[in-house]
C-alpha cells in the first residue's frame, strides 16, 4: 500500500514524486506545539544513587516522529520508559527535574499513573500480544477502562487494525488466538493495541529489532501514516531507520544528551564530534 496515496494524508494524490523526510514532516506553527513533551533538567537514578540520566533538557514536538539513538546502555530506553512512568515498577528509583506533557507534569501527585498510561501507547522490542484472541487484545485497553459496549468495541477494533495496516490480513479471524500471527503481524497487532484507546503519544522501544526487513519496511510505512495523528517517539539502533522515519533525532551517550536537531542536520551535518563518530559508524 502506497503510503503516499493513503486517503488520510492531507495532500493525497497530488504528488508525483516521493517526498523527502524534510518535506513530509509536520510543520510546527500550524497549531502543533513544539514542546508537546518537555523534558526539563531531568536526571534519573537507579537504587537511589546510580545515576543513569544526567540533566536532560529537550522539547519533543507534537505530531512528529522523534528518534532516540545512541550506543547500548546510553539511557535512551530508560528515558523513553520514564515518559509513561513504566520504570515505576522498579523498586528504589529516584528522579530529579521534570517531564511535562502538554504543560502538565507526569509526576503530578494528583495525577493517577493509570490515566497517564491510557493517554500514551507503548510498543515494546519483543512483541507481547496477550494470550487472548486478536479482538480481545485490541479491546483490552477499553475493557480495563470499563467500556464494554459491543458497538464501541467493534468500531475500535476495525479502526485500530486499519490504522495498523493489519485489517485486511486478519479481518476474518478476529476471534482466533493472537499467537497464530507471524512476527511482523504480531508487532503490528501490538501497535494496533497501542492506538486502540486513541492515545496522544506512541512510544516505540526498538519495535523492529526482532523483525525481518520486509516486516520492518511495513512498520516504517505505518509510522509515516501514524504521525498524522500521533506524536511518536522511537528508540532505535538502526541509523538508517532513524533516517527513514524520523523528523528529529536525539543522540545520547552515557546518559547525556549530546545532540538534538532535525534528522537531516544530525546525520549530514553533525555539530558534535561524538555524534559524527557515531553516525559514521566509528563506534557504537
Amino acid at each position: 500500500m502506497n503510503v503516499m496515496e493513503h486517503p488520510d494524508r492531507p495532500s493525497a494524490g497530488n504528488n508525483t514524486r516521493p517526498l523527502t523526510v524534510a518535506e513530509s514532516t509536520g510543520r510546527p506553527g500550524q497549531g502543533y506545539k513544539s514542546d508537546y513533551i518537555a523534558i526539563r533538567d531531568y536526571s534519573f537514578f537507579y537504587g537511589g544513587t546510580a545515576q543513569v540520566l544526567f540533566n536532560l533538557t529537550m522539547d519533543i514536538p507534537e505530531r512528529q516522529v522523534t528518534a532516540f539513538i545512541g550506543p547500548s546502555g546510553c539511557g535512551k530506553s530508560t528515558l523513553l520508559r520514564n515518559i509513561n512512568r513504566m520504570n515505576d515498577l522498579i523498586p528504589g528509583i529516584r528522579h530529579e527535574g521534570d517531564i511535562l506533557i502538554d504543560g502538565n507534569s507526569v509526576y503530578d501527585p494528583l495525577l493517577e499513573v493509570i490515566s497517564l498510561r491510557k493517554r500514551i501507547g507503548m510498543v515494546f522490542q519483543k512483541s507481547n500480544p496477550f494470550p487472548k484472541s486478536i479482538y480481545e487484545n485490541i479491546v483490552y485497553s477499553l475493557r480495563v477502562a470499563g467500556r464494554s459496549k459491543k458497538s464501541e468495541l467493534d468500531e475500535t477494533v476495525e479502526r485500530s487494525l486499519k490504522g495498523a495496516a493489519l485489517w485486511d490480513e486478519v479481518k476474518d479471524r478476529l476471534h482466533e488466538s493472537a499467537f497464530g500471527l507471524s512476527g511482523g503481524q504480531m508487532q503490528r497487532l501490538c501497535i494496533a493495541r497501542a492506538i486502540a484507546n486513541r492515545p496522544e503519544i506512541i512510544l516505540m522501544d526498538e519495535p523492529c529489532s526482532a523483525l525481518d526487513p520486509i516486516a520492518t519496511g511495513k512498520i516504517e510505512d505505518l509510522i509515516h501514516q501514524l504521525k498524522e495523528e500521533y506524536t511518536i517517539v522511537i528508540v532505535t539502533h538502526n541509523m538508517q531507520q532513524a533516517t527513514r522515519v524520523s523528523d528529529r533525532t536525539a543522540f545520547f551517550y552515557l546518559g547525556k544528551l549530546i545532540e538534538y536537531n532535525e534528522t537531516e542536520a544530525v546525520f549530514m551535518n553533525p555539530q558534535n564530534p561524538q555524534t559524527e563518530a557515531y553516525v559514521s559508524g566509528r563506534f557504537g
Binding site: 513504566m86 493509570i114 507481547n128 496477550f130 494470550p131 483490552y140 485497553s141 480495563v144 499467537f179 493495541r193
Partner: protein, 594 residues
Amino acid sequence: MQWSKSDAIIVSETWIHIFLVRILELIFMNSNRTKSSQDRPSGEIYVWLTAMGLAIGLLMIISLLGLILKNGVAVFWPKPVAEITFREEAPGYRGSRTVAGVITQEKNIDIRDLTPEQLTASDPAVRREKQLFMGNRDRYGESFAFFTLGDIEKVEYPAGLIHAERMEWGDGIFYPLAIERADGSRITVEDPQFDTTLRALVNEVGERRERINEIERGKIGPINAQLRAAEMDERYLVRQDPRTPQQEQQLAEARQRIATLMGDYRPLAARAQELRAEQRLDRLHYRLPTGEAQSQVLGEFVHYYWPNQLSLWDKVQLFFYHIWEFLSGFPREANTEGGIFPAIFGTFVMTLLMSLAVTPFGVLAAIYLREYAKQGLFVRAVRIAINNLAGVPSIVFGIFGLGFFVYFLGGNIDQLFFPRSVELGVPTFGTGGVLWASLTLALMTVPVVIVATEEALAAVSRGVREGALACGASKWQTIRTLVLPASAPGILTGLVLAMARGAGEVAPLMLVGVVALAPNLPIDGLFPFIHFERKFMHLGFHIYDLGFQSPDSEAARPMVFATTLVLILLVIILNLGAILIRNRLRRKYLSSAF
C-alpha cells in the same frame, strides 16, 4: 492368593541380577580403551542408572496396583462352592462328615502347628490345608475354617447348593428344601417352578424393603428431625423457671408441634410396620451341608444364586451386580457386609469441600506473596515457614483442627447461635463434622497450592505484564485478566496434588469428624441440604476400621482390598478430572514464551 516370601525374593533377585550384569557390562566396556572408544559418549552409564531408577519405581507401583487390583476384583467374581467329604478316620466338622463352602486359599500349615505325626508322615498332603468360607455364621459361630488336605476324601461341586446373601449373619450356603407360603402351601425344590417362584419372591421382598426404606428414611426421617428440634425446644423451655408469658406461649406451641408431628408419624410408622410384617409371611426351609435343618423368613434374603450352575454370562452378570451393590449399598454387620456408598460419598464431599476451601486461600496468599509484598527478609521467612508447614505430620494438623476448629470456633459458634444445644449438652458445631474436617485438611494442603501457584505466577512472562500496564491497566486488573488465567494450568496442578494428598489422609480425620458408621449422609434432601455439622464416613478410615477393628478379620479381608481399590480409583478419577480441565486451559492460554 498372597505373595509368598520365596516368590518375592526370587523376583527381586532376578531383577537385581539383570541390572547388575548390564551395569558391569557397561563399566568393563568403558574401561577397554580401544581406538573406537574415544568416540563413545561419556556419561552413558549415568543415563543407564537414572533409567534403572525410574524402571524400579515404576515396577514397584505397578506391582502394588496389580496386587490390589487382583485381590480387590477377585472379591466380586462369583466362585463355585465345594462340598468336602472327610475320610472315615478323620475328625469331621461339628459331627458331620461333609462340609461345604467356597475354597478361599490353600497353603502349607504353619510348622509350629504341626503334630509330630504330620511332620514325619511321608504324604505331603497332611501338611497342607485348605481354608473354606462356609457362611452360616448364625449356626457355626464362625465363617471360615481350615481343613487339612490329608483328611479330605473327595471334593465335589453339587448343583443343588445355594449361596445366599442375607440381611443378618452374613451369607448362607445350604441345600434348599421347600418354600412355605403364608397360606401354608409348600413348593419343594424338586418342583420345576421352584427357582422361578423363589426368584420372584426374593425380588418382591427386595422391592418391599426399598419401600420400607423410602418410608423410614425419606418420610419418617424428616419428621424425626423436626420432632427432635421441637422436643429440644420443649425441654429447654420446661427448664426455664419462672417462665415469661412469651416462653409459656412458645412452650404451648412446641407441644402443639410435637402433637402434630406425632399425628403425622403414626400412620407412616403403621404402614412401615405392615410392610415389615409382610416380609415375614413366607419362609424358606433348607438343610445345611453339615446336616442341620433350618428355616428363615424370606424377608431376610437379599439375593441368591446357584454357584455351581452358573454359565460364564451368569458369572459376568453376577460380577457386575456385586460391584454395583458394593458401590451403591449401605454397610451392614459392622461394616463387614453390604456396600460402602456412604464412605465413598463422604470422601467425595470432604475432598470437594477441602478443594473449595484451599483454592481461594492458597491462590490469594500466593498472589500477595509474589506480586504485592515487598520482597525482603520477611517475605522470605514467610515462604520458608510455608514450606515447612508441608512437612508437619498430619496428626498434628488433626490435633490443631480439634483444638482450634472444633473446640474454639465450634464451641463459640454453638454459644452464639445454638445456645439450646449447649444447655442440653448436645453440641452442634462444637464437635467433629464434615466442615471442620475439610478445613483441617485444607490447612494441611495449603502449602502445596501456594508453592504451585507462585511458580505458575512467576512463569508468566514480563512482557505480558508490561503490555497490560502500558495499556493503562491497574496491577489488580493485570492479575485478574491476564496473569491468573495464564497461571490457571499451574494452579490446577497444585490443586491436583493437594486433592491427592488430602483424599488419602486418615489420621487427622479421626479427630475431627470421621466415624465408623454414620447415621446419615452429609448431603440430603432436608434444608439446608449440605449439613456441615454432620459426621461422615471416609474410605481411608473405613479401611482402617475394617482391617483392625472388625471382629472377624478374615471376613473383612476381601472388603479391605476392595475398599482400597475404590479409594485409589476415586483419587485417580478426581485427579483425571483436574488434569483434563488443566489441559483444556493450557491449550487455550498457551503462551508464545514456551
